[in-house]
Amino acid sequence: EDKVVQSPLSLVVHEGDTVTLNCSYEVTNFRSLLWYKQEKKAPTFLFMLTSSGIEKKSGRLSSILDKKELFSILNITATQTGDSAVYLCAVRYYGGATNKLIFGTGTLLAVQP
């Protein structure tokens, strides 16, 4: 069964801490892995990863993919209260006649002042 598993389910940290969010997957015909941040509204796109070992970076956020071990991590350094959100991982893969996208359940991050 194709699946995406995120861990931890939730996390509470203090401002300034560094956090690492995990996403593992089991799919056939992998295409790409995407990270989204969801606050009160719709998910907003963070990163798309297609190649192993190449870090994507945007400010304090970075992410890397390991296609051999089938996982990705999202790092957030020097966390701020504005980083509080649900972080979603999604994997795009070729399933039968079409490309499919499957989401993990998300990691809820709470950053306390």
Binding site: K41, A42, T98, F103
Partner: protein, 114 residues
């Protein structure tokens, strides 16, 4: 910027009512999707469409139908709403090109069925 608009943000409907959720995108995307998001279950795909008048079932299509009469508009229909369809519904779109892996979401429609 891509804009995906869901016209109804908050709805309260009675059991058995017919419910329409509308979604419009402005980037000429071929692919459009309807998801529902529930605590502990993440986003689950209900239906998707890869072209006008084309539709495919997702993982949880039961109790739902969709309509794609125009490229920019994808409607989700609950023929007879039930309480277990209380959820947050997200519409999304994506282009067809290989480079367009990213999907863009609308702001969500919160539906409560009483």
């Amino acid at each position: 910027d891509v804009k995906v608009t869901q016209s109804s943000r908050y709805l309260v409907k009675r059991t058995g009512e017919k419910v329409f959720l509308e979604c419009v995108q402005d980037m000429d995307h071929e692919n459009m999707f309807w998801y529902r998001q529930d605590p502990g279950l993440g986003l689950r795909l209900i239906y998707f469409s890869y072209d006008v008048k084309m539709k495919e079932k997702g993982d949880i299509p039961e109790g739902y139908s969709v309509s794609r009469e125009k490229k920019e508009r994808f409607s989700l229909i609950l023929e007879s709403a039930s309480t277990n369809q209380t959820s947050m519904y997200l519409c999304a779109s994506r282009g067809r090109a290989v480079s367009e892996n990213t999907i863009y979401f609308g702001e969500g429609s919160w539906l409560t069925v009483v």
